[in-house]
């Protein structure tokens, strides 16, 4: 990741835009990125300082090239490189021996006299003799462990120039988030991934449903209610690649620069590509098979995959499927595969929190047998495949109950064994 010193952005009224290299406006950068990759691909054995100097020459004649951009490219290339860092401490050991030998003859003078006899050249030659190495070699090895003299060993690189340019664009957006105090996302899909990574980043959420299956998620840090702070900026920056891997979203971050505030707006259409792998559409083959078998619509029910989030405080539950009937009835469907008893207990606890919703649960048969005593009545079981008829039958029951009295508290989930 880049640091603030690499950040490059412009203001447009109350909006801030991260530096973004585009194919049309910055066509030349593709060639320059290729040159940078060439330098690093063929730079094995070169010091970090030499690599940086060579990289800088690539941009010499480019008019539109702020120094931060050059430094940012170099940092991104360094980040995917392995340098020989002298972990064994050979350079430090050599320095130690040289300095200890020289200390006996301090100070080393250019013009020796009767009081100070230790001529610099003579002392260095003597030390070279004692260490049985030419002074030239000693001097060049003494500081090999200093960062600028680290030598490139392996360059993992980027797939091609476009990948490097995309990484640069994402990194500039990320670094801008270091100034962020809060982030608001309007999301329509991949909710599970969004919430998982937000939690991993240590952020708290407030969720508002703005339309069916459309959520506004406000992410902040724990201290936010007391003080608007940028201390979670790194958390927001770490979260961004996960967001970019999702589909169909808009994000607005509130940024605080010294005395004024500004907004950064990005969406899934901004052209930034994540380097995270997107989530698989289905968690298991079982779910995929069931969805295929069900088709898009059956008996007036439409099947949606993880489009609804059930939220209580910081607890978010995303049932695997949502059945939505044309008359407005909504039934959630959660599938429990091969998991531990502890997992199952936690699952019942979660479901109990949302007992006011209609949630249908199917548990795998071996698990259902071993945990029979804790299985609430009404729980479906499945083997290698989910019985579609069984599910449709339960949905039919729901429709019939709806005819009588359909409303809150008519849960399919009985009191969970906690």
């Amino acid at each position: 990741m880049l640091t603030k010193e690499h950040a490059l952005f412009t203001f447009d009224r109350f909006e801030v835009r991260a530096d973004c290299l585009t194919r049309v406006q910055h066509a030349r950068y593709r060639e320059m990125a290729s040159k940078l990759l060439y330098i690093y691909h063929h730079g094995r054995g070169l010091t970090r300082r030499d690599l940086h100097r060579r990289s800088e020459t690539v941009f010499t004649d480019e008019a539109d090239c702020p120094p931060q951009r050059v430094r940012a490219f170099v940092k991104l290339l360094d980040d995917v490189s392995e340098f020989e860092t002298d972990r064994e401490g050979r350079a430090a050991e050599l320095r130690r021996r040289v300095f200890e030998l020289a200390a006996l003859r301090h100070p080393l003078v250019r013009r020796p006299d009767r009081l100070f006899e230790s001529a610099e050249g003579k002392v260095k030659a003597d030390i070279a003799n004692q260490l049985a190495q030419p002074w030239r070699v000693i001097e060049s090895s003494m500081h090999r462990d200093f960062p600028e003299f680290h030598r490139l060993q392996v360059f993992h690189g980027y797939r091609d120039a476009d990948a490097l340019l995309n990484r640069y664009n994402v990194a500039q957006a990320q670094v801008l988030l270091f100034w962020a105090e809060e982030m608001t996302i309007t999301a329509r899909s991949d909710l599970k991934m969004l919430f998982r990574y937000a939690k991993l980043a240590g952020l708290l959420h407030e969720v508002t449903a703005v339309a069916p299956s459309v959520y506004r998620i406000r992410l902040t840090g724990p201290v936010f209610v007391l003080k608007q702070t940028r201390r979670y900026g790194v958390n927001f920056a770490q979260f961004l690649p996960a967001l970019l891997a999702c589909r169909d979203w808009q994000m607005q971050a509130k940024l605080h620069f010294g005395k004024f505030r500004s907004f950064l707006r990005i969406s899934s259409e901004s052209g930034l590509r994540s380097f995270y792998k997107p989530e698989k559409e289905f968690d298991s083959a079982l779910e995929e098979k069931f969805a295929r078998k069900f088709g898009t619509e059956r008996d007036g029910w439409k099947l949606e995959r993880e489009t609804e989030a059930l939220v209580k405080g910081q607890k978010v539950f995303l049932p695997d499927f949502v059945f939505r009937h044309q008359d407005g009835a909504v039934v959630y469907f959660e599938i429990v595969g091969y998991w531990t008893p502890e997992y199952l207990a936690a699952k019942w606890k979660t479901l109990a929190m949302f007992a006011d919703r209609l949630i249908l649960v199917s548990v795998s048969k071996p698990l259902a047998l071993s945990q029979e005593n804790f299985m609430p009545p009404g729980t479906l079981t499945h083997g290698r495949t989910l019985q579609l008829a069984q599910v449709l039958e339960r949905l039919k029951q729901v429709r019939e109950r709806k005819g009588r009295n359909f409303g809150g508290g008519d849960s399919l989930i009985p009191s969970a064994p906690v």
Partner: protein, 476 residues
């Protein structure tokens, strides 16, 4: 570990840098609390812990359950701890009298560390010590080892060991305080003026430690931010000026400025670079009379000519910083003080390495590893090395009592840095007189930087020594 278990109503707990009470929204537990709809709870800043507990205890008596601090009591056995002087004792008494909160402002070398160590034994509680840089963190670690035989935990420099006594840096404290802010009863901020920065102060805000001690020689900041420390750490409980301590608890000292000149070759390059900059700015001013250096910097983003001017400017600065003549004068100073330890402060890593290569002296830079730092500092302290070179890592707090000679070959215009560097040689040992030399390239911008940093009482009476006088004194 911070408990993740949801606390029951009526309990005061710590959650990632905040105090939390789970009570109905209609029932605010005490001032400083704000309703947090995200978690259905009341939150207050952790540093308000003493006030909050006082209010809650008064209001609820025994029914109030305080689960904030997870602190162990310590019985520190002192192995090597100096008896405090009268002024140090006075400072400690005043701090204890202010409910174990407050700032002690004393010049460098007057033994603030010793006051903090005695405060730790008196308080007998888990203590976190925050210092500005890794070198100082390790110095605290060693001092604690010597004083109490206690292997303190280290948080920072890639280590994450939390023990009843832990040392850390301001940067690490800022990053990790929300995870460890309830594990200590006492927090000591060394060089506390660093804490006042808008971000770093969160190291104090997210911490619940009720006892707080701030130590510094240079409290006041030009931006006025130090006023925030009065709330976060406590009021100034004791202050001692350099003039009070000079000659008594501090060594007598003098500061000497030695102007040097560029060699003809350097001067040629310097003039050429200066001409490039001058010509560029002059051309721009033909069309825009108010064109400033700031404009050059912003134009460098889109104009190769501006970039060349900027590069020329930096090249000029490098010539000033690494002037050959400085190394020659340094040789003379090493001759003059051949029998004494000499500390050399460089203005850049490159110059520090240049000096190290020329005189084969140990050099400490920000990336030097812990073992090498220990080895170099030990060697310097016990006299094996008679000189040590550093860029900025030894500017603050490093304690080498025997050093009475320091040479500044480059640095910032900051008076704080100048005072801190001077402070390295002021620890009183017998009647030895300290001397700080400053080698400055005359007729360059460095002269101006030097003039700015000497605008401090501590540098009043600086005299100028010409090179030939120095050569005469070393018998050349």
């Amino acid at each position: 570990m911070v408990s993740r278990e949801r606390p029951s109503s009526g309990e005061l707990t710590y959650d990632r840098g905040t105090l939390v009470v789970h009570a109905p929204q209609t029932c605010c537990p005490s001032p400083h609390f704000i309703w947090d709809a995200r978690t259905d709870s009341w939150r207050a800043p952790a540093w308000r812990y003493p006030t909050v507990t006082r209010v809650l205890s008064e209001a609820h008596g025994d029914r109030f359950n305080d689960r904030v601090l997870e602190v162990v009591d310590l019985q520190l056995v002192t192995k090597e701890l100096h008896t405090l002087r009268e002024d140090q004792r006075e400072a400690l008494t005043r701090w204890r009298g202010a409910d174990d909160r407050g700032l002690i402002v004393m010049p460098t070398g007057t033994g603030k560390t010793e006051i903090a160590m005695t405060a730790m034994t008196d308080c007998g509680t888990a203590t976190l010590i925050v210092s500005p840089i890794r070198d100082l963190m390790y110095q605290w670690h060693r001092r604690i080892q010597r004083a109490f035989g206690n292997d303190a935990g280290i948080l920072g420099d890639g280590r994450h060991e939390i023990r009843p006594i832990t040392v850390t840096t301001y940067d690490s404290a800022f990053i990790y305080m929300d995870q460890i802010g309830n594990r200590f009863g006492l927090i000591v901020f060394d060089e506390v003026h660093h804490l006042a920065g808008r971000n770093l102060r969160q190291a104090a805000e997210l911490c619940a430690a009720p006892r707080r001690l701030g130590l510094t020689a240079t409290l006041e900041r030009t931006d006025g931010l130090h006023m925030a420390l009065m709330d976060l750490v406590g009021p100034v409980v004791y202050r001692q000026e350099v003039s009070e301590a000079r000659g008594r608890t501090l060594a007598e000292y003098e500061t000497i400025r030695i102007p040097v000149h560029l060699t003809p070759r350097e001067q040629r390059h310097y003039n050429a670079a200066a001409a490039t900059v001058r010509y560029f700015v002059m051309e721009r001013r033909k069309t825009n009379p108010s064109y400033t250096w700031q404009d050059v910097c912003s134009e460098a983003a889109r104009d190769p000519a501006a970039r060349r001017a900027l590069r020329a400017f930096r090249f000029k600065a490098t010539i000033e910083d690494r002037a050959e003549e400085k190394l020659r004068v340094l040789e003379d100073l090493f001759r003059l003080h051949a029998q004494e330890p000499v500390l050399v402060f460089a203005g850049s890593n490159s110059m520090a390495v240049d000096i190290s290569r020329r005189f084969l002296l140990p050099v400490l830079l920000h990336h030097s590893r812990k073992e090498e730092r220990y080895w170099a500092l030990d060697g310097f302290t016990n006299g094996r090395f008679r000189a040590l070179v550093a860029n900025q890592v030894l500017d603050e707090g490093i304690d080498v009592p025997a050093v009475k000679v320091a040479v500044v070959v480059g640095g910032l215009a900051s008076t704080r840095q100048a005072k801190q560097r001077l402070g390295r040689i002021l620890r009183k040992t017998g009647s030895a007189r300290a001397v700080l030399y400053e080698i400055v390239c005359d007729e360059t911008h460095e002269k101006e930087r030097s003039r700015q940093r000497r605008q401090s009482d501590a540098y009043s009476g600086t005299r100028t020594m010409r090179e030939h006088t120095l050569q005469y004194r070393v018998g050349r």
